[in-house]
Structure formats: C-alpha cells, structure tokens
C-alpha cells in the first residue's frame, strides 16, 4: 500500500504576476508503507516546497495528493491541520522545540492537539523518550540539552501520534558528524523496528545513500531515482520499489 501518492504536482508562486515563478513542474512520486526514502537536491531545486506539500503545510497549484489513502486537496484548513497532526511527524533541522517546556511536555504537544487524555499523553511521551534514550532528561528544558539530545526529543515528538510518515528536513544539518550519525541510527531503528515510513530531505549524498531509495530533484523536476544501500539490505523490499519513478 502506498502512503504517499503525488501526481502531477505543480507549484507556482506569484500567479498571474510578471514575476510568476514555477517551483515544481509536475512531480509524480509514490512512497510505500514502511519505505525509507530520501530526497536530495541543491538549494532552489524545490525540495523544501515538495516537503511542505507532503507535510500538508502548503497546497499544490495543480496535481493530486493522497496521504494514507485520503485525498487531501479538497479538505478545508482545519481538517488539514488535524491530518498533519495525526499522519505526519516533522523533524526540523533546527529542532524547533518549544523553549519554556521540558522535553516531556514537548513530546506531549502533538497529542494535546489530537485530544489524547492527559494520563495517556504522559505515559506515551515517557515511552517515546525511552525509545530515543532520553528518559533521564525528560524534565530538562531544551536549553539544558545538547543539539543531538534536542534532535532526539524532536524525533520522539514526531512519533507522538504514531504518524503514517516522518518527514525529516535536514535532521543532521545542525549537528556534528558524530551526533548526526547517532540521529541517523535512530531513524534506521524506527524504520527497522517500528516499520515507520520516513522521508528524509537532505543535500548530504552520503546520508541519502543509507536509505532505500534516493530521489534527486533539480529545478523542480525529478531527474534521478536510484536504490540506496538500504534497498539491498532489506529483504522484504515491496514491489513498488522495483520500478522507481
């Protein structure tokens, strides 16, 4: 089953004005359940725009988008917010933890908007912090944590509502290579042990190599699609992966 189905996605800015700008030129892309995919490209290639569309933060100008079997284009903003909270987990380059809340409260945040009762919220947040090995720092404020620790809390937060897909935008971009390695290992763990679908946006080709499939964007088009090392290691490669776009 496909988690993400994008067909003919076009994104234009300043429509109808002299400086009209087309960022995506009709992207077709499907991501299967349990796939670890990476999208690479230079800055300005449109990968951030694509990520915003996948993450329901932005709407395409043209094209179709189905997330977890649900057509998203016709949904009103409030429904999109709910879908975003339930089906997408964001991991940002700059962590984006909320400063005055401790790690535990940060992880609970998405569940707050998903109407999870307080007790359940606390229990799940504690469990998630255990998975990312941050249980002992649950009561720490973000400014008391190192970059790698912050990113691990952020990953736990992305997992809060058990989303269909984790969208990671340059998750190691602000980290040194050693902690970056640690964070990548957590993603691999989530992928292998919990079967999470992960879309990694990066311009680091080495990290992309670790994933199952690598999509290269250039000037708003997919110019290459290839298997990564993860593909060979994964015996249960689903059928969709055989014929990359």
């Amino acid at each position: 089953m496909n988690i993400i189905e994008l067909s003919g996605i076009v994104k234009k800015y300043f429509i109808g004005k002299p400086n009209e700008l087309q960022v995506l030129n009709g992207i077709d892309l499907t991501v299967g359940e349990g796939e670890f995919l990476s999208i690479i490209g230079e800055s300005g290639s449109g990968k951030s725009t694509l990520m915003n569309i996948i993450g329901l933060l932005d709407r395409p100008t043209e094209g179709g988008y189905t997330l977890g079997g649900m057509d998203t284009l016709e949904q009103p903003d409030a429904i999109l917010s709910r879908l975003r909270g339930q089906k997408v987990g964001f991991v940002f380059q700059t962590f984006n933890l909320i400063g005055r809340m401790n790690a535990q409260k940060n992880v609970e945040m998405p569940m707050l908007y998903n109407h999870v009762p307080p007790k359940e919220r606390a229990e799940r947040a504690a469990h998630l912090l255990e998975i990312v090995e941050m249980a002992d720092r649950a009561k720490h404020q973000p400014n008391e944590l190192s970059g790698g620790q912050k990113q691990r809390v952020a990953i736990a937060r992305a997992m809060a509502n058990d989303p269909d897909v984790i969208l990671a935008d340059e998750p190691t971009g602000a980290l040194d290579s050693q902690t970056g390695r640690l964070v990548m290992d957590i993603f691999h763990g989530l992928h292998e042990n919990y079967g999470k679908t992960i879309v990694l946006i990066t311009h680091n080709k080495e990290l992309a190599e670790e994933t199952q499939r690598i999509i290269t964007l250039k000037d708003g088009d997919i110019v290459a699609a290839q298997y990564g090392r993860g593909h060979k290691e994964n015996a249960k490669t689903p059928a969709w992966a055989e014929a990359p776009a």
Binding site: L57, D77, R82, N96, I98, M109, P110, Y113, H115
Partner: protein
C-alpha cells in the same frame, strides 16, 4: 486541545516571562482597584449620609416662607424684603392644614430663634442658642429628656420664663448638682433674662454642626416656650415650621399638598410665598449627587482600565511576534487556526483575570482605608462603615474578562492567520 489544556499552556507561557506578565497586569490592577476603591468609598458615603438623614427624620417636611420668584426677576435681586408679621406662618394656617390632612400629619414642630449667647455662674459659663419651641418639637427632633420635663402648651400660653437645657450645659455650670428648679441668667446680644430650669435633655453630637475644640465652648440649644420667645422677638408667626408626616405617607409628595393649602393665604401677598421640602427629597438629591460623583470618577478609572487593556494588547502583539516560530511549530504539530487563536485569547484573559482579582483585593483594601480616612477627616462625628459595592466587583470581574477577550482577539487572530511555512522560517 480543551479549555483546561489552554489554561495550562497560558500559565506556562506567562511563567516564562514573569516580570513582563506582572507589568502587563499592572495596568489592569490599577484600573480595577481604582474602580472598586472609588465605588466602595462612594457607597460607604451614601450609606452614612442616608443613615444620618434617617436619624434627622425622613418623615419631616420643612415649610418656610420665601420670597416670590418673580421678585428676583423684578430687579431687586440680592436686596429682597424683610418679612413682617403679616408674611409669616400663623397658628391659624397650621390648624387649617391639620384639619385638611388629619391622617397624614403626626406633629408640627415650631421654633422661633431668639439668639446666641451665654449663661454664666460665677467663673463658670456655657454657650447656648435660645430657641422658643412648641411641645411637639420634642417628637419631631427626637429629643431625649433625662430629667424633669419638656416645655408644654401651658408654659407657652402663660409665657412662662422656663427653660430646658442640655446635659452639657448642666455639667458646665452645675456639675453633679441637680439643676431642676435652679435659675440661670441668659445673656444674649440685646437681651438678658432669667429662666428657671424645668428639664434637661441629652445633647447629641451633631454631625452637621461645627465641630468645637473644647467641651466648655460647645454651643447647645436651650428651649423656652414658644410664645415666650414670640413675646421677646415681638412676632406672632413663624418663618419656618416642620411637619412630621404619619408613617406610610410619602413625604416628598406631601410637600405639594402642604404648599397647596398654605399658599392660598399668600395669593395676595406681594412678596412672599410658602415653600416646602422634605428630608426624603434631600436624601434623594444628595444620594444622586454622590452617585453622579462616583460615576464620574469611576469613568476616569475606566479610562485607566482601557489604557491597561491596550497595554495587554500591545504585549500580546510583541509576544506573538517573538513566538512566531513556536506558532509555526504548533501548526506543524497539528494545531488548527482556531486552537492557536483560543490559546492566545485564553492567555490574554488569564492576564486580565489575574490582574482583575488582584485589583479587586487591592481595591477593597484601598476602599476600606479610604473610607476610614474620610471618617477621620469628618471629625469622627459621622459613622463611616466601609461597605463594599458588590455590583462593582461583579462588574470589574466581567469587565476584566471582556478586556481580555476584546484586546486579546486581534493579536490572537493575527497569530492564527500566520502561514506555518513563513512562521517556521521566521528568525
């Protein structure tokens, strides 16, 4: 996200910036406490005044001779005419009045002022105001006789030279000695007379009267029979009379009936007519004046509250700009526009409500202190009890909440409408 979560979030963000939250609240605190304090003081004054007038008797209607209004217009303003015997109220007029409204009138009190003076006994002295009164004067003025008796109609008919004096005068002149039957020499300007004391009354500290520094200099009234006074003053009528209305009679409405009856006697009088006012209407007009004053000051306090509200809005706008990224993150984590809006409105309401509650407490304390200060300033004659105005508290609470909603809405809406992509990119 439910309401409780919203409040929790609001407290979390306020705790992160305690100083700022406190300063923002300060405007609300000042506004609310000013409103409450002023309302409390105004309320206390109204209560005290009303009680005072109640003591003087709201049933009393004062009837008096006044110059006709068109006389003022006739170019003689400021000059006026002296009343002569034919202009004054007479026993005959009052008897007529009582005949027409026998059930409405309890008593008439009549008084003829003789003058201010002194009585001396060796080196001892006492100040007094000599006043000729009728027997009913005792009832209408709530005079308490402690020894002997009050002047009566018999004393008046035979123009006896008897006097009822105050306990203060007695203690100044006679000390512990029984004064009944003793004579005193009364010296007024242009009049000296000897009177026999027939009674002693309890002098109350008058709230409205001038406060005196020493017990020895206090001026009290000495009552002599009405006709004795008329003889001294060479008058047959009265410039003024007090009508005590029966229980259940609306004194304010009764004033018109009184003037209606009495002015028939004045239809051919060139310069004078009868006017009447009731204590009740005095109470009403003083109360409404106080209420007006309270309202005006409260309006000024409300402006302070408005300024406080603008302060809240300002700080909310700053806070939202600072937290743009947080708003973007919250949206990425699934917050709807409505939830973001609710979060910031609740935050503004929480600021205003905390400020409001502190303001109410401070306001009540200030009101109590202020009332005590006014009580002291008035010489302690008048009993001021701080009575907290309950409607003002409800009003203040509601108002501070309304300020939170009103001044929180615009910033909150601005936050809700932020584009999550821009917000996440915000540095």
């Amino acid at each position: 996200m439910n309401f409780r979560d919203n409040i929790g979030q609001a407290f979390t963000s306020l705790k992160a910036n305690k100083m700022r939250a406190l300063l923002t609240m300060l405007g609300i605190i000042i506004g609310i406490s000013a409103v409450i304090a002023i309302m409390t003081m105004g309320n206390s004054m109204t209560v005290a005044m009303t009680e005072q007038f109640q003591e003087l008797g709201v049933n009393n209607v004062t009837v008096y001779v006044q110059q006709k209004e068109d006389e003022f217009a006739g170019g003689r303003f400021g000059g006026g005419y002296e009343t002569t015997d034919k202009d004054l109220l007479t026993d005959e007029m009052l008897a007529d009045l009582r005949e027409q409204y026998p059930d409405d009138i309890d008593a008439f009190s009549l008084a003829v002022g003789v003058g201010n003076g002194q009585t001396t006994q060796g080196s001892k002295y006492a100040n007094l105001t000599l006043l000729g009164v009728n027997a009913e004067y005792k009832t209408t003025n709530n005079i308490e006789i402690t020894r002997g008796r009050f002047v009566d109609d018999g004393d008046s008919e035979s123009r006896k030279k008897v006097v009822v004096v105050s306990d203060k005068l007695v203690s100044n002149i006679f000390g512990e000695e029984d004064p009944i039957g003793k004579s005193i020499l009364v010296e007024l300007q242009g009049y000296v007379g000897t009177y026999v004391i027939i009674g002693v009354y309890e002098a109350e500290d008058s709230a409205m009267g001038p406060s005196t520094s020493s017990e020895a200099d206090v001026v009290t009234e000495a009552y002599i029979p009405l006709k004795t006074a008329q003889l001294i003053m060479k008058v047959n009528g009265y410039e003024q009379a007090t009508v005590m209305t029966a229980a259940g009679v609306n004194a304010t409405e009764f004033t018109d009936k009184i003037t209606g009856v009495l002015n028939k006697y004045y239809s051919r009088n060139e310069h004078f007519e009868i006017a009447a006012f009731s204590m009740e209407s005095m109470v009403e007009s003083i109360t409404s004046m106080l209420n007006m004053m309270t309202l005006v000051i409260a309006a000024i306090a409300a402006i302070a509250l408005l300024v406080g509200g603008i302060g809240v809005m300002n700080i909310m706008l700053v806070s939202i700009t600072e937290r743009t990224r947080e708003i973007g993150v919250r949206k990425a984590l699934g917050a709807t526009n409505g939830e973001i809006r609710a979060q910031f409105i609740v935050e503004a309401i929480v600021i205003c409500m905390i400020g409001g509650i502190i303001g109410i407490i401070v306001g009540i304390l200030l009101g109590i202190v202020g009332t005590a200060v006014i009580g002291n300033y008035s010489g302690g004659d008048m009993e001021f009890k701080a009575s907290v105005s309950v409607p003002s508290i409800l009003l203040a609470t509601g108002f501070s909440m309304a300020i939170g909603i009103f001044f929180g809405y615009y910033p909150a809406n601005k936050a809700a409408k932020l584009d999550p992509i821009d917000a996440l990119r915000f540095e």
